[in-house]
């Protein structure tokens, strides 16, 4: 059974310096609030894993907390580049960033192998691409039945996976739906799992197509309404597109970035589970950004 914790305590307990951390979400259900708490607690030397690192990884990288990124596509979806990511890769600011770079199919299969507790996964991928030449987590294997040469990708087993979901019950069983991306695989591949949720309910009503992660596969659940903002939680919130647009000019400039992070992340406390400090509501972020 997962413990129901405050976000502050769950992060302090489960995420440590030097950990390999996956915070997944395919545009939907991205655990922004949890990542902000990692930033506030200054947890550093992280190896971050994610198929589609976007604004929240840009923030962690820009704060100098990341030594390595394992990924397959890094951008601000629908807007353009991640400028803190680019600054780290191109100029080593604020610290050099090591990359382990894959295709989406490769990353998805690395999680599948990790969740299956297999050493690697097999796919018909990477053929002719230079990607395979720059990583030691892609190799080739020969099919023992047909002799076909296939790509082998090393399993990904994060120390910690952090995801955001719609609901949990009091036993810490978690339910998520909509675009479920690779969250289930990332959670089942990890040693420790933290899930932030929109709400905690007495009973999880069945929802067709929903993913349920039993409480015994999860270490801690924290109730963080709006914890995916500026991304969205289907059924609870919509994507704050203005924020993604506004992030572009903020993140282009090192000083503007630092000032924004101070005001909106560092100088705040973790959102309290019941009411308390609002966590960057859309209107609030918009107002702050338009100044």
């Amino acid at each position: 059974m997962a413990d129901i914790r405050t976000l502050h305590d769950a992060v302090a307990e489960l995420v440590h310096d030097g950990d390999t951390v996956a915070m997944e979400g395919f545009t939907h259900l991205i655990p922004f609030a949890a990542a902000h708490e990692i930033i506030r607690q200054g947890i550093t030397d992280l190896t971050l894993v994610r198929m589609t690192p976007d604004v929240i990884y840009d923030q962690l990288i820009g704060m100098g907390l990341v030594k390595k990124l394992v990924f397959s596509w890094g951008g601000n979806p629908g807007v353009g580049s991640l400028h803190r990511f680019r600054d780290a890769v191109e100029n080593g600011w604020p610290r050099p960033l090591e990359l382990d770079e894959h295709s989406h199919a490769g990353m998805a299969n690395r999680y599948v192998a990790g969740a299956s507790r297999l050493p690697f996964a097999v796919l018909r991928g990477y053929r002719g691409s230079d990607l395979a030449t720059r990583t030691d987590t892609v190799a080739s294997v020969t099919c023992p039945f047909t002799g076909e040469e296939l790509a082998a990708v090393a399993a990904l087993n994060p120390d910690v996976t952090v995801i955001h979901a719609q609901r949990a019950d009091h036993e810490g069983n978690v339910q998520l739906w909509g675009l479920t991306g690779v969250q289930k695989e990332a959670a089942l591949a990890a040693s420790r799992v933290l899930v932030t949720v929109e709400e905690i309910v007495d009973r999880l009503d069945a929802r067709p197509g929903a993913v349920v992660l039993p409480g015994w596969t999860i270490d801690a659940v924290a109730r963080v309404p709006g914890g995916a903002h500026p991304s969205y939680a289907s059924g609870y919130s919509v994507r704050d597109n203005d924020f993604y647009q506004a992030w572009d000019p903020i993140s282009r400039d090192r000083d503007a970035f630092a000032a924004w992070m101070r005001e909106h992340v560092l100088d705040r406390t973790a959102p309290a589970p019941d009411g308390g400090e609002p966590h960057g509501t859309p209107g609030e972020a918009e107002g702050a950004l338009s100044q």
């Binding site: 395919f26 770079e101 002719g128």
Partner: protein, 246 residues
């Protein structure tokens, strides 16, 4: 460009759609000549019927209007890798004469760090596993380069037979649609050749915007200008949902 890219989807049943221009074109095709086109996005949506242009690959509109929503491992393994999809529709940062794509990094010259692009995403396996590949991008010497700084995604490799040697399924890139015209691979060389010009565009202008010595087909076709119906549909698509995206 977008109208011609949409027209290129005539006859397609299923399309694995990249975000940006490919998504606009695929949605336009569904609004005009190919209303049954099944749109598949790498976020796991199959048969999306968005009422407005999606803002990203994970736009909730794509999930809410889909026939099915599946996990990301499933979309890549069961649907893409299994060869169930007719057309892969991609954008690109750099393309070479054989339709190979770079979306990883660009060389900025001696003493300067490489410029970072977003990375591969789904493209390597989309181009490897779909029945054919369409590309749409703006025509400049920055995009159409003589040599890729990094091969992210294989089109026709270094020439005919390369796809087969690498074990890649399908025909590879069959058309690159740009704002100036359409390039298609010459069957003998697999090299992108100018086969269509948009009205008012000259061969010289296209050659000047291409970073290699562009071959020109013996018979050049001028593309039909967009019809009123096509333009109306495109405008409606672009205008739809402008307010509720705020």
């Amino acid at each position: 460009m977008t109208v011609n890219a949409a027209r290129a989807l005539a006859g397609a049943t299923t399309c694995f759609v990249g975000i940006g221009l490919p998504s606009t074109a695929a949605n336009l095709a569904r609004r005009t000549h190919n209303t049954d086109l099944i749109l598949i996005y790498e976020s796991g949506t199959i048969g999306s019927k968005p009422t407005r242009l999606p803002l990203s690959i994970g736009d909730g509109e794509l999930a809410d209007t889909a026939d099915a929503v599946v996990s990301v491992p499933e979309i890549f393994n069961y649907w893409l890798q299994a060869g169930r999809i007719d057309v892969g529709f991609l954008g690109a940062a750099q393309v070479d004469a054989h339709g190979n794509i770079n979306t990883t990094l660009v060389d900025r010259g001696p003493g300067r760090p490489s410029g970072r692009l977003p990375g591969a995403g789904g493209a390597p396996e989309i181009a490897a596993n779909c029945g054919r590949v369409l590309m749409v991008l703006r025509h400049t010497t920055r995009n159409f380069v003589p040599r890729l700084d990094f091969v992210t995604t294989v089109g026709h490799g270094s020439g005919p037979g390369d796809r087969a040697r690498l074990g890649l399924r399908g025909a590879g890139p069959t058309a690159v649609i740009t704002d100036l015209g359409i390039l298609t691979p010459d069957p003998a060389t697999a090299e992108l050749t100018l086969t269509h010009l948009h009205p008012g565009v000259t061969v010289e202008r296209v050659r000047a915007a291409t970073g290699w010595d562009l071959e020109v087909a013996r018979t050049l076709t001028t593309t039909e200008p967009p019809t009123t119906a096509e333009l109306d549909a495109l405008r409606a698509l672009r205008a739809a949902g402008k307010d509720d995206q705020r």
